[in-house]
């Protein structure tokens, strides 16, 4: 399934003193099987954009369309319409999703989505158990316990399982690691990456963590004040246009940030390297080159 966002605009409380223009003229695409990251400041419109993509909000103008795998095109949201039918193809995990848990047992809670899709009891439970396994929980161990008894990280997994049980083709995650410890953070991201491969999902990740984005995303969409300011591969966004990114007050991932400091310190490095391996390689190369120059100089001095 491919998602296309065209000229999307949204204003909250129009005509009121609290009027806020959340989105203005947004255009972007999410390809089938793609891992897209959306980055930007708090209040830059990231959450509003993903809510439109999930078909939960109606825009003032513009539209979001989905092209299904069989080639048919359906509207997910446009003025006066937020499509319920397409919603189940798009799953959305909100910030702090554990606050949506409500059932007596974990299994029942995860069954909520499939139940709303009209599946029978057996199929519901099969789906729920599979989803729990996908997020790394054993349904036989946690299935019958109350979701409110679990730890924070486990609650979040259950909530994500609740969305996965709907079997979406596109999974949107709005800051899924907010408030988790470093281990929980890595676990959740690895889990997302694994689920993406297992189920061949498209992923949209809203994040503040540039290292996660650099490590996992195929494409990065940068938002600022309700508009898309950049769109491209992590290499393009962080390396080619890193200085613009810093101008709107966003950070670089650890690699380029470190290389930049080295360059400020006088080492002649190319800052356009993203991963840890590449960064390390570049530092080694630069240091060797520097030593080479030194020996050249020494040789010259000896010759003269």
């Amino acid at each position: 399934m491919q998602i296309k966002v065209e000229n999307l605009s949204k204003t909250f409380s129009p005509g009121m003193p609290y009027e806020t223009r959340a989105l203005s003229d947004i255009n972007c695409e999410i390809g089938s099987g793609e891992f897209v990251a959306i980055i930007g400041h708090t209040g830059s419109g990231k959450t509003t954009l993903v809510q439109h993509i999930a078909g939960l909000v109606q825009p003032d103008s513009g539209r979001v369309t989905a092209t299904l795998d069989d080639g048919t095109e359906t509207v997910i949201s446009e003025k006066g319409k937020a499509a319920f039918a397409v919603r189940r193809r798009v799953g959305i995990v909100f910030q702090y999703p554990e606050y949506q848990l409500f059932e007596e047992t974990v299994l029942k809670d995860v069954c909520f989505g499939p139940k709303n899709q009209g599946l029978d009891q057996e199929a519901q439970e099969a789906r729920a158990k599979e989803a729990l396994r996908l997020v790394g929980l054993d349904p036989d161990v946690v299935g019958e316990s109350s979701p409110f008894e679990l730890s924070g990280g486990q609650k979040r997994r259950v909530a994500i399982a609740g969305v996965l049980a709907v079997e979406p083709e596109l999974l949107i995650l709005d800051e899924p690691t907010a408030g988790l410890d470093p281990k929980g953070h890595d676990d959740i991201l690895d889990m997302i990456d694994r689920v993406k491969e297992d189920k061949s999902l498209s992923i949209v990740l809203v994040s503040h963590n540039m290292d996660d984005v650099a490590a996992y995303a195929d494409k990065v969409i940068v938002m600022n004040a309700g508009t898309v300011v950049m769109e491209g591969t992590p290499e393009y966004v962080y390396c080619e246009r890193g200085s613009e990114l810093k101008d709107i007050g966003l950070d670089l991932p650890a690699g380029p940030a470190f290389l930049e400091r080295l360059r400020e310190g006088g080492l002649d490095v190319d800052i356009r390297k993203l991963g840890f391996e590449e960064t390390a390689g570049e530092i080694v190369r630069a240091l060797k080159a520097k030593r080479g120059k030194k020996t050249e100089k020494n040789a010259e001095q000896q010759n003269s």
Binding site: F12, P17, I92, Y99, Q100, F102, V166
Partner: protein, 272 residues
């Protein structure tokens, strides 16, 4: 986003003389105005009430569109009240007869009268909340009620409870909106279905909402204790309330207005 469109109890930021009035004076004036609406006996005095309210609205600079939004949630109540008046008042001359059933001119007169009174009540009270910050409002109330603390009324505690309740209305509305969207994304349907199905559909909304409300309340209590809150005894204020010239003018205008309304009961100008 229907939950966002509730005006009742919302503050409209501004810097008019109405906004700057001392909250105590404003509360008393609003109460006097609301009482005066029940003193009124004839339509032409309502004209005076409308003029007075219009003057306040113009002075405050709050757009009328914004005020009239407060009517939306109660429009149903107003219509029912008017219908009951029209249908059940049997005195007066029948103006419309369908078989055994008739409507009298007095019924229509009383219905319009009640309807107008309700609308003015809502506009009058929303002018108070629209031009006064919730904090000022509860501070004013606390000050007004403080003489009663001698006879055991916990004025400070009541005011604090109101402050907290008002403060958390938007928070809980946002929370409701968020949970609704999250459950909708899992296929919950809050709009369709019969009454029983609709009530059942609320469970996935209400349970998480209660859980969050308790969590927020616990956090708030902890934060207040961490900052040494121990009730109203010996507590001083950051903003002391002082009566100024505007307050005096407002009080005089109010007294004159109330005098006129009361006098109108004894002066018989019969237009209708």
């Amino acid at each position: 986003m229907a939950v966002r469109d509730i005006t009742l109890g919302q503050y409209f930021p501004g810097d008019s003389c109405i906004h700057r009035l001392d909250p105590r004076v404003k509360i008393v004036c609003a109460l006097v105005y609301l009482v005066s609406l029940f003193v009124v006996r004839s339509f032409w005095v309502f004209g005076l009430c409308i003029l007075f309210l219009a003057a306040v609205i113009i002075l405050s600079g709050v757009p009328f569109r914004f005020i009239s939004k407060g009517l939306k949630p109660v429009i149903f109540l107003i219509i029912i009240t008017m219908l009951i008046n029209v249908l059940f008042i049997r005195t007066g001359d029948p103006v419309l007869t369908i078989g055994k059933f008739y409507i009298t001119n007095e019924g229509i007169y009383r219905a319009l009268f009640m309807g107008l009174r309700l609308v003015l009540l809502i506009f009058g009270s929303s002018m108070l909340t629209l031009t006064t910050k919730p904090i000022e409002l509860t501070d004013g109330m606390e000050k007004l009620l403080s003489p009663l603390s001698k006879i055991g009324l916990p004025a400070h505690e009541l005011a604090m409870m109101m402050t907290i309740a008002l403060r958390f209305i938007p928070t809980l509305l946002d929370e409701t909106d968020k949970i609704m969207k999250a459950q909708t994304a899992r296929g919950a349907d809050f709009e369709n279905g019969n009454l029983k199905e609709k009530a059942k559909a609320l469970i996935p909304l209400l349970v998480p909402l209660f859980v969050s409300a308790f969590r927020i309340a616990g956090d708030l209590a902890m934060a207040m204790e961490a900052r040494c809150y121990h009730g109203g005894k010996g507590r001083t204020r950051l903003h002391q309330m002082k009566l100024g010239r505007v307050d005096a003018v407002a009080a005089i205008v109010m007294v004159v207005y109330l005098g006129c309304v009361i006098a109108s009961r004894y002066i018989n100008i019969n237009i209708f």
